[in-house]
Symmetry: C2
Subunit: 198 residues, 2 copies
């Protein structure tokens, strides 16, 4: 189907980078193959040599963005969990969502783009990402419970699902809010959630 070469192929990286740039400049829907061809200097055939479809290309970028987020999160987790002082109850979770909020816009754009595909295959990919993120969330909630940071009465799975749902909601509201003020406001909202949970 695709992936004929290794993923760190320089030409392929050029395509990915150009597409990511274009998405940030023009948005998902307005980024066409012609744009990508012009920016990379490659041909249509070259692009379809590395990728089976435009959707797959966008999907690959989403995947890498999600992985970047998770990596960033893991760093925060390990830093906070090993640290002596805690920012308060749910401090780790707070940091995670804060970092997620300030994440690159590409993630949000492609997230919504893929959601609109109405394609079972794409949705299953998104669903697996959701499941993975949730299972990771469960792990740190349980970690927090063993450390005494989070009350043991809380159902870790449900709480993780709650945070995931809220995280997705934040993605949407951030995409809707254009001004910087509104983004700050959405940050406040999350703080309120943390406060009421603490």
């Amino acid at each position: 189907m695709s992936n004929p070469t290794s993923h760190d192929n320089p030409t392929f990286q050029t395509i990915l980078l150009a597409t990511e740039e274009l998405i940030l400049e023009k948005g998902c829907r307005n980024t066409t193959l012609k744009d990508i061809i012009e920016r990379t200097g490659l041909s249509k055939g070259a692009i379809y040599h590395y990728v089976a479809s435009k959707d797959e290309l966008f999907g690959l970028i989403l995947k890498s963005k999600i992985e970047q987020e998770n990596e960033k999160f893991n760093q925060i987790v390990h830093h906070q969990m090993s640290g002596a002082a805690h920012a308060g109850q749910f401090g780790v979770v707070t940091e995670f969502f804060h970092s997620r909020q300030n994440t690159n816009d590409v993630g949000n754009l492609i997230f919504i783009y893929l959601l609109s595909q109405d394609d079972e295959k794409v949705k299953s990919i998104l669903n697996s990402i959701y499941q993975y993120s949730k299972s990771t969330g469960i792990q740190w909630i349980e970690m927090g419970q063993t450390n005494g940071v989070i009350p043991p009465t809380i159902d870790a799975e449900k709480m993780a699902a709650l945070f995931m749902t809220f995280s997705y909601g934040l993605r949407v509201t951030q995409l809707l809010s254009s001004s910087e003020d509104e983004r700050i406001a959405s940050s406040d909202i999350f703080k309120l959630l943390i406060q009421t949970l603490s």
Copy 2:
């Protein structure tokens, strides 16, 4: 631009109904003008006589769906607020989200479709819907505060924004979860949110 006739024009209603059906059957992205033409038996010119663009057509359906939701919600509010017994703290809000969750799938599909447009005009419409829903939410939270159902210490605006964000997140997760079980699970998650808030 559009709306040359009254909105209850039978031909126009036929177009709206057929489009809504198709969206439910095939999803937003796979519903083309050709499909709508074939189902209605009309021509392309006829559709563009009533509507300026495909996006406007989809947007009109979204708008009516949102209005249906709000109407349904208002009924619940007035029923609960006037009733003697309350289902508990935030009972009204709980009911609202429950009703919203069981809402027709068309709303979710078009919601995501419009989000993916990267169009400022479309986004401003969605944003105005968000603002309206939030302001309505503020009203019932304040109502609940005067009635003593909701603690007066809560910032009504932030709390309303929190619920809106969560509501949008639910839309996304429901769209991602295909099985019935997962939908029920997302309902549980909301109950957890209510519990922790109470």
